[in-house]
Every structure is written in C-alpha cells, then in structure tokens.
C-alpha cells in the first residue's frame, strides 16, 4: 500500500512536471521543470528496482544534460518573448498525440505480457529458461550481498550492479565500446560545431 502510494506520488510529480515543461511560456522555466521531471523518472527507476540507473539518471540527466540545456538557454538570448511559444499546429498535434496515448495505454493494459514475476502469483517467478548460467550469476549475487538471508517467501531480488557490470563487460562488450566511440565523436563534433 505504501509502495503504491509512493508510486502514484512520484508518477504524479513526474507527469505534472512534464506538462509544465510543455506549457511553460519561457524556456528557462521549462528547463527547471524538466529537471524536476528527470528527478521523478529517477524515482520511478528506483521503485522498479533499478537502483544503479536511478543514480545514473540523477548524474547524467539532472546533473549534466540539464546544465547543458541551461547553458544553451543563457547563450541564446530569448528573442521571441513577446510571441506565442506555440506554433499553429497545436490542435492537430494534440489530437495525434492524444490518440497515440489512447492506443499505448489500452495496449499496455490489455496485452498479455509474459510476466515472470511481479503482481502475479509467486509460482510464476520460478521459470528459468534453459541454458541460463545460474552458477556464476548466483555466486555473483551472493558475493554482492544480494541474498536475502532469512526472508522466506520473499522478495524477488532485482539484479545487482555487479551483474550489470559483468553483463556490460562480457556479452555487451562490443556495444559498450562502440558506444564510447560514438560519445567521443559526438562530443568532439559538438565542440567543432559550437566553436566560432
């Protein structure tokens, strides 16, 4: 019950902040509301058990990207203050976006997702696909202190940061390296573009 209440509170903050980002009249106010919605999303990550991603969200989005956006706002003096912040396609955009939301919400609610655990019966949590390397993962989880010692009946533990790191450095190593190159090239490109 507490968990559900917390989820609803965080989700409400996130959604209100997101709406405020879109309807705020000045860019600066939009940017500040954007920070709040990023914080809300981080809270939802943590509620979902992705603790590391919650921290990364705060570091990267709240810390870095928001500051970047605020810098851009400061560097581009607001020259369009007296005009409307919206273009002429507001109504048609609202209709398109509203129908998209309807489709997404209905699909998300009605679809028969292959849940392995969650709000269903505990028996659903026992499915392990064939070929899963349990030994290493379990040992890692125990080493990282993920094991709920004497807590019968409980709680499916979310994966640990150690497991995420091992996953990044083994099966997803190529993607990881390619991503670092993309980041490097993009930042060098950004400097080149923004320079005089």
């Amino acid at each position: 019950m507490i968990e559900q209440g917390a989820f609803i509170a965080i989700a409400a903050v996130t959604l209100i902040a997101a709406c405020a980002v879109v309807v705020a009249r000045t860019v600066f106010v939009s940017a500040l509301w954007l920070v709040l919605s990023f914080v809300g999303i981080a809270g939802l990550y943590i509620m979902a058990g992705a603790y590391f991603l919650g921290v990364v969200q705060v570091l990267v989005y709240v810390g870095a990207i928001s500051v970047l956006i605020l810098f851009a706002v400061m560097l581009t003096r607001n020259v369009m203050a007296e005009e409307s912040p919206f273009n002429r396609e507001t109504v048609i955009s609202f209709m398109v976006v509203g129908s998209l939301f309807g489709v997404l919400a209905i699909a998300g609610y009605t679809a028969d997702w292959p849940l392995t655990h969650g709000a269903v019966t505990p028996a659903n949590g026992l499915a392990v696909p064939a070929g899963t390397d349990l030994g290493a993962s379990a040992a890692l989880a125990v080493a990282a202190g993920a094991m709920p010692a004497a807590d019968p009946g409980a709680a499916t533990m979310p994966g640990t940061v150690a497991m995420l790191g091992r996953s990044l450095m083994s099966e997803h190593l190529l993607a990881f390296e390619v991503m670092s190159i993309i980041l490097l090239v993009a930042l060098v490109g950004a400097i080149v573009i923004a320079r005089d």
Binding site: Q4, A11, A18, C19, V21, V22, V27, A31, L34, I41, L44, Y45, A48, G49, L53, Q57, Y61, A64, I65, L68, I69, V73, T76, N78, V79, M80, E83, P85, F86, N87, E89, V97, L100, F101, A105, G108, Y109, T116, H117, A119, L126, V128, S137, A138, V142, A146, M147, P152, A155, G159, L164, S167, L168, A175, I182, L187, G189, A190, I193, A194
Partner: protein
C-alpha cells in the same frame, strides 16, 4: 514482491512520451523541442526498465526455494545505459547546433530556420 502492476509503469511512460511528443511538435523554440525529445527518450527508458523488472528471467537462489529469487538477465538495464549515453551525445550535438545557428541567424525560433528551404 511488488504490488505495482506492470501497466502502471506503461501508463506513466506512455503519458510522458506523449507529453514530450506534443512539446516537440508544437513549440517554436528549438531548445524546447530538444526538451520534448529528452522527455520522449526518458519515457522509452522507463518502459525498458519496467519490462526488465517484470519480464526478465528469474532464478532461485540456491537449492532452497525460500532462499529467495533474483533476476538473472540484465539486458534491459544495459539497453537503458546505452540509451542514456546516446541521449547525452544527442543533447550535446543538438545544443551545439542551436548555438551555432543562433550565432549566424540571431534566432532560435524554428519558423525562422529557412536556410535550406527549397
């Protein structure tokens, strides 16, 4: 463990995505459009985290069932890490473009970006 159904996450994610899309479609300021795109990316990440949490393979920890169960695969979180890195690169390049255009045209209104108009 969790008393929160999956569709709550999907609902919030869809709402954030649509709000961000509305912003990206209707705002005249290019920086506001970038903010809308960031909101959309965040919604996608939230979706990925929710599906990771609710549909990942789950294993018993040890022989005894009561020892607890934990999520085996971390692929969903790896996806989110990648998307966050890409979003950071995208934000840096996008804002650099906006600043470069502002330098030469003295405006950030998308209606005035007509340099490449046929």
């Amino acid at each position: 463990m969790t008393a929160i159904p999956l569709w709550w996450y999907l609902f919030v994610s869809a709402a954030v995505f649509c709000i961000g899309m509305f912003g990206a479609l209707t705002r005249r300021n290019a920086i506001n459009v970038l903010m809308g795109i960031e909101l959309m990316l965040n919604a996608v990440n939230l979706n990925a985290v929710a599906f990771w949490r609710y549909t990942s393979p789950v294993a018993d920890l040890g022989a005894d069932e009561s020892a607890g169960r934990f999520i085996v695969g971390m692929d969903g979180q790896v996806f989110v890490v990648m998307i966050i890195a890409l979003a950071a690169a995208e934000a840096a390049v996008g804002l650099a473009l906006i600043i470069a255009i502002y330098r030469s045209r003295r405006t950030v209104a998308l209606d005035d970006f007509t340099l490449m108009q046929g």
